[in-house]
């Protein structure tokens, strides 16, 4: 029986934590943590209760912060969090994931590090940086960032990394070698004859279907996609959506056919919710059909977006969905997206949202 639901926020000015009960009606906000550093991703390891926060400070560089007491106290480290002396130094940690007891960190400029001691020290996963396409990777508006690290739940040798704007890469040998996994995703910013390259796509986020590691969902700068084969091929699932642009994609934690998006009005139209009316869009059939969920979300004069890591689900039976805006508002639904309420506001721009459900 779950006893406590934590919503973990990374913001431009530190990490925050919301404490709630399984009813998810009342929340208590704590923070800012991490000395108000820009924090790009905060994750919890429910097996240990440890919270990790990755970010980077313009003065002091990148670090991963750790808290073993649910946010009461924090320490930080970047020991080993550098790639090659001659190259551009690591500016920030962008994404964190736990796999088979190891902590993984995607960084800017795009690279991957692994820690076997809970973030105290780091080893460069050089195989990703050494991919033959590396010299042709170009940054997106947010920089050349490894912003999603998606571990295979059963095979510790497999994981996917999403890089803007290089695309999705997959390893089956623990990171020694990587394959581009972008076939079928568009580059609308390329000339017509180069719309479907092997790499160079501006992937915005990826998510894995519950219990089906080979089924991936993707929000791209240029469309929404589903893969049935671990990213070897992607097919569009944007029909029925108000735009092809957005940042986050969230997979339902129990139902592999349910997926959530937060479409925006377009990459050159302000990147706001369409028509100033906010909606989370949900598919119950793997992206074939979409329903807009608006109850409790502003339906006029809304000019915000939700960034690539800023929407998440909790793992309760009746799943909660959380969407943090780049204007510092956190919307939450305790009923799979049917109804929404503001559970925090007046925060710094929200970079990331994750959850951790703790047992009694």
């Amino acid at each position: 029986m779950p006893a406590r639901v934590l919503v973990l926020l990374g913001t431009r000015k530190g990490a925050f934590i919301l404490d709630g009960t399984p009813e998810r009606r009342d929340w208590r906000l704590r923070g800012p943590f991490c000395e108000t550093w820009p924090i790009n991703h905060v994750v919890g390891d429910p097996r240990t209760g440890t919270i990790y926060a990755g970010g980077g400070n313009a003065w002091f560089g990148p670090a991963v912060w750790q808290s073993t007491d649910l946010g009461e106290t924090w320490s930080h480290s970047s020991d080993g969090l550098r790639a090659v002396e001659e190259e551009t130094p690591v500016a920030a940690v962008w994404s964190l994931a736990v796999q088979d007891g190891a902590l993984l960190a995607g960084v800017e400029p795009a690279g991957l590090f692994r820690s076997a001691d809970g973030g105290q020290s780091w080893t460069h996963v050089a195989g990703l940086r050494d991919h033959p396409s590396r010299s042709q990777w170009n940054p997106g508006a947010g920089g050349l960032i490894a912003h999603h690290v998606l571990p295979h739940p059963a095979d510790p040798a497999q994981l996917w990394v999403a890089i803007s704007a290089a695309g999705v890469f997959h390893t089956t040998d623990g990171g020694r070698s990587w394959a581009a996994r972008n076939q079928g995703t568009r580059c609308d910013y390329n000339p017509p004859e180069a719309r479907y390259p092997e790499f160079g796509q501006c992937v915005h986020s990826i998510a894995m279907a519950a219990g089906q590691p080979d089924r991936l969902y993707q929000q791209n700068h240029c469309g929404m996609y589903r893969s049935q084969d671990g990213g070897a091929g992607w097919e569009s699932m944007e029909a029925g959506l108000p735009s092809s642009f957005g940042f986050p994609v969230v997979a339902h934690p129990h139902d592999p056919d349910t997926v959530y998006l937060f479409p925006l009005n377009g990459d050159i139209a302000g990147r706001f919710v369409p028509e100033g009316r906010a909606a989370v869009w949900r598919s119950r059939d793997g992206g074939a059909h979409w329903q807009d969920l608006r109850d409790g979300l502003p339906q006029r004069d809304a000019y915000f977006g939700v960034l690539r890591q800023a929407m998440a689900a909790d793992t309760l039976d009746r799943v909660g969905i959380y969407a943090g805006t780049n204007t510092g508002i956190l919307y939450a639904s305790a009923d799979e997206g049917e109804h929404w309420q503001v559970i925090a506001q007046h925060l710094p721009p929200i970079h990331s949202v994750e959850t951790m459900v703790l047992p009694a």
Partner: protein
């Protein structure tokens, strides 16, 4: 011995770390290495690589801009500061 003054924004990252330190060093790099030995990780916060200060960290010796190779005469005052360009 030389006297090192650390930027105030650095101190909360190392609880208990004072803002001023006396260390034995003949260069700025040696001074930071001495501080890192006493406060593990502190060098990472100031240097982006073993040979380079972070982009928005400034060093001054006797009021003059310095880098990691700058010599420190005995009794020198080394100021390590956060640049306005970083925040």
């Amino acid at each position: 011995m030389i006297l090192v003054t650390l930027p105030p924004a650095l101190l909360p990252l190392f609880p208990g770390c004072p803002g001023r330190h006396s260390v034995s060093a003949t260069t700025v790099a040696e001074a930071i290495a001495a501080l890192d030995a006493a406060w593990p990780g502190l060098g990472d916060r100031l240097c982006e690589s073993p040979g380079r200060l972070r982009r928005h960290i400034r060093a001054f010796v006797a009021g003059e801009p310095a880098d990691l190779a700058t010599a420190l005469p005995d009794g020198a005052d080394l100021f390590l500061m956060t640049a306005i360009s970083g925040g």
